[in-house]
Amino acid sequence: MALLEIRNLKKSFRAPDGSITTVVEIPAFDLEARQRVALSGASGSGKTTFLNLIAGILVPDLGSVVLDGVDLATAKEAARDRIRAVSIGYIFQTFNLLQGYTCLENVLLGMSFGPGSDRGRAEELLRRVGLGDRLRHYPRQLSTGQQQRVAVARALANRPKLVLADEPTGNLDHRAGLESLALIREACTESGAALLLVSHDREVLAQFDDRRDLLALNRAAHAQEVAS
């Protein structure tokens, strides 16, 4: 059984004018444990909504999202929160670090919702991403690349089975982006986590053997593209 099994997934939103727009409509998508997949997706392809559905942040209108044997589409909110805290590491395009917390505290806080805070592991992870001397720095005191690395450390802190990365290099310059990507891949390999990365950067996508086109997977995005 695959780590992640998605079937007949559909998600729509109601626009302010009352019209309903389908953003995600994916018949099937699977991801095995330790597998690393890059999804290419331009703006409007529904990539963030897709990742939020996998993370249990959004609930699909139809279909199933089975992660590690649990269907997030039917699971109660508390169960989805728990799975997100324990089994999923999420690297956001805008990093989403808590500005009032230090690097170390950002990582520790993520751990506190999962298996529990482990200061030693948090410090080790931050040292691993090259921030051993920035433990007590606040995000605003770090460069964009350093903030990205804190986000990577936080995503891996709970030893997740699946790491979701939404345009992880989108806010970085070329060199920093490639360094960050290498770090994410390496960290996932070391921890045995599967990686699902979405990006519209061809150079980033080229780093992956397994590449899929979200526009092709997502019928809703495909239909919009055809219509436009």
Binding site: S43, I57, R84, A85, N96, L97, L98, Y101, R154
Partner: protein
């Protein structure tokens, strides 16, 4: 999370906690002043069981002769003093005569057995810290501790009394009095008085010679605490006679004063309650107004796996912690208010209030304020609870 949030909103946290401190301090102070002053006033009898005076208000008589804060209802002949003094049930009878002051502090004529025969509280007499008691035949005075401190009078100092109970520099008597003793603090209204021989007041120049033998009242201590003898005197003076007033028991008479001003207590309590409600409301407003800027943080926390209940509890806890911090500071506010009030009460009446005395309000007020703050926190907590994660986390693509 709560600690971090408080630090992130430090300014509003401090301001809100300060308003809680003021409200909580005021609330506690109102209660403590009310109860302590009532207990202090009804507990103060300066060692006497009853007061005999001219026909009139018992309360006025007690306030005048025991607390030294009211006008005299009138004078009584010296013979009435002799009559009650020789009553078999009376252990001590102390005559007092008022009518003069020194720079606003009352001068009371009395007998020397005030210093030897009276226990103002069990086992404690009106002792002297310096000097000796006055000679009844000389122009000498013994100054209460508070009056001595305020007037700067010491043994050997001289002073000229002023006529009347209120200080008027134009009404100075010619006689010179010498301070021969200063009393130890008794924490009774006697501390605010300058005691001189009875004849000193009675024969002061300018006083009406026709009233030279009159007294303002007689302070009475019974031989036993049985109310039977007191009831007999009560019947004799108050019911059968119509010339004198027998004020007994003193505590009950003073309690009438508090019954008369009970509405003031209720108004003060109402104001304190309203201030407390407004202060806890400020917590609601403070946190609620910050919810917009917190939405992203809440969304991030939820994306990291924090349950809604955790977010909800954190907001409620934050409100409670602000109230808790405020109530800690409220104790300082309470002590400051009590210290000020105690100083005024002591200056005006000689009754001593203790700013540090414990009171049940010091338990229920903080608990009540924290509970109210937690209730106030439910509103922003509900808003936080309902914060949509995805739309506050990243823009939809």
């Amino acid at each position: 999370m709560v600690r971090k949030s408080l630090r992130q909103h430090l300014f509003s946290t401090v301001i809100t906690a300060f308003s809680i401190a003021l409200a909580g301090g005021l609330l506690m102070a109102v209660w403590v002043v009310k109860d302590q002053s009532q207990a202090a006033f009804t507990g103060v009898n300066a060692g006497f069981d009853a007061v005999l005076g001219a026909r009139g208000s018992k309360l006025q008589l007690v306030l005048n002769t025991i607390f030294h804060i009211e006008e005299s209802p009138g004078n009584i002949p010296y013979a009435d003093f002799e009559q009650v003094r020789t009553n078999g049930a009376v252990r001590v009878a102390i005559p007092v005569a008022l009518g003069d002051n020194y720079l606003g502090y009352r001068i009371v004529g009395t007998a020397t057995n005030l210093f030897t025969d009276v226990e103002h509280s069990p086992g404690r007499r009106f002792d002297l810290a310096a000097g000796r008691s006055f000679d009844p035949g000389l122009r000498e005075g013994v100054v209460g501790s508070f009056a001595a401190e305020r007037l700067g009078l010491r043994v050997g100092d001289k002073f000229k009394p002023y006529h009347g109970l209120l200080f008027d520099p134009n009404n100075r008597h010619d006689e010179d009095y010498v301070v021969v003793g200063v009393m130890r603090p008794s924490n009774t209204p006697a501390d605010r008085v300058i005691w001189i021989p009875l004849q000193g007041v009675q024969l002061m120049t300018g006083h009406d010679p026709k009233n030279a033998g009159d007294l303002s009242g007689v302070l009475i201590k019974f031989k036993d605490t049985s109310p039977l003898t007191a009831r007999q005197l009560d019947l004799f003076y108050n019911k059968q006679g119509n010339r004198l007033t027998f004020a007994w028991p003193i505590a009950q008479v003073v309690a009438q004063l508090f019954n008369k001003i009970a509405w003031v207590d209720r108004v003060l309590a109402l104001v304190a309650y309203l201030v407390a409600v407004v202060a806890t409301g400020s917590i609601l407003v403070s946190i609620y107004n910050s919810m917009k800027e917190r939405r992203r943080d809440i969304a991030i926390l939820r994306a990291l796996g924090a349950r809604r209940a955790v977010i909800f509890s954190a907001i409620v806890a934050e409100a409670a912690v602000i109230a808790g911090m405020g109530m800690v500071a409220a104790f300082a506010v309470h002590v400051a208010i009590l210290t000020g009030v105690a100083a005024v009460v002591r200056t005006q009446t000689g009754v001593v209030l203790d700013p540090f005395m414990l009171h049940p309000v010091m338990a229920w007020a903080p608990l009540g304020m924290i509970a109210m703050a937690a209730l106030a926190g439910l509103v922003p907590a509900w808003k936080a609870y309902r914060t949509p994660v995805a739309e506050n986390l990243v823009p939809q693509s």
